[in-house]
């Protein structure tokens, strides 16, 4: 397996969908957004409290531990990593947020953010001020339900993450992550087999609770088994069933 190189030209280019205008009406992503049950006036009201397309460059923070929690974000394009740091400075990546994901659900109504969220590439988000959301929700109760459902789902996600860390070997964990990213790609109408890993190997290691070296070795191993084809950030899944077998 080669190291990443800028000389390598992948045949594959991710589909870049046009960014929506500033209206929620025209946003083709609102099926995954908090607004997905809304129509007409309600959608307009919702749209009017949303700030569209805040832009982050790679490395920019969406929010940081200690920040006041006053905004919910929806990823419009790009990706983020969210992590938490303990008293000794040890860092644990909790998840990667892709297009359509809701970010920043911990700390709601509490003392502020405990986690930090950072862009992995140029990223666009919609910002929904919490106060306005809550006020609107008193008129449109389904907004409360949406938020509760998203949070419930976030709990489930983190529980699955714990399950993975607690019960699977490093190989299984990496395979599981690749499959997860593949599924999320597919759910967004993109390729199941072509992944752009904008996070570093170190980030992947942190998410999986494995050392960078271990991650690197497993990539090499998967490549040797002809299950994936990895060139730096770009990974092609060549044998998804083989990958599933390893993930189990």
């Amino acid at each position: 397996m080669q190291p990443a190189t800028s000389l390598y030209q992948p045949e594959y280019r991710p589909i870049v969908r046009p960014l929506s205008t500033s209206s929620c009406h025209s946003c083709h992503r609102h099926a995954s957004c908090l607004a997905h049950t809304l129509e007409g006036d309600e959608l307009s009201a919702f749209g009017s409290i949303v700030t569209h397309s805040k832009k982050l460059k790679r490395g920019d923070y969406l929010y940081r531990a200690g920040d006041i929690f006053d905004t919910i974000y929806v990823v419009r394009g790009g990706s983020l990593k969210t992590f938490i740091i303990d008293e000794e400075g040890r860092e644990q990546i909790l998840g990667f947020s892709l297009q359509g994901d809701i970010v920043a659900l911990d700390g709601l109504f509490l003392q502020g953010h405990r986690t930090t969220s950072q862009a992995l590439e140029t990223t666009y988000v919609c910002s929904i001020p919490l106060a306005a959301y809550v006020e609107l929700a008193t008129k449109i109760p389904s907004l409360y339900h949406e938020l509760l459902a998203k949070m419930s789902n976030r709990i489930l996600e983190e529980e699955e993450h714990t399950l993975m860390l607690g019960t699977k070997s490093a190989d299984q964990r990496l395979a599981t992550l690749l499959l997860n990213l593949s599924e999320r790609n597919a759910a967004r109408g993109q390729s199941k087999f072509e992944l752009e890993l904008n996070m570093s190997r170190r980030d992947i290691g942190s998410y999986l609770s494995a050392a960078v070296e271990t991650v690197s070795r497993i990539f090499t191993r998967l490549q040797a088994l002809d299950i994936i084809d990895a060139h730096g950030k770009h990974v092609r899944i060549k044998d998804i069933n083989g990958l599933r077998k390893i993930a189990t």
Copy 2:
């Protein structure tokens, strides 16, 4: 360190508070309950939708994976373990719920429970039907906020769990768990130094992602260091600062 024995008579007995009557008004625990901001009529209205003191015996299930999600529970007394099982039957304990804890926040408004919750001892819970809660919340919006805050907190808890699993050694993890249980005891007005571990060593191992044998050995080690005094389920913390040092 001795194995658990029924002949051993601990000097310590947990404080058993009297169970509340069927009214939320007289419940001294509602500071930690979803009702904690309510007073007067609102509290009465809340109380009227709650079924008080459902009783579970050790081993009984509060709910199981696959069950429809229609009720939120608050632990009134006793304790529960909540776990998740993967496709291969591997089990991961996600947490232990003590008096005052809200149980069953994953699966809300989704397809049902993914996890299973089981009593570790004789346990009493209040049951709050979700539909009635939501209806009442449209009149008392603070109920929505309470629930959102609890869920947000649950996300944070699980994130801290992930952080612990990902960054700490087995010794650190067990010490961290003991300190956590100690703090939660203290928050409920009970002893910081006397713990009743109603879960098995295997359960502790699962929660910490460690083998039973490892857990047992660490208990022995902590005992040898004169940091704890463990007799089966009963554990006395003799040197909480020593324990903190190990947990770091």
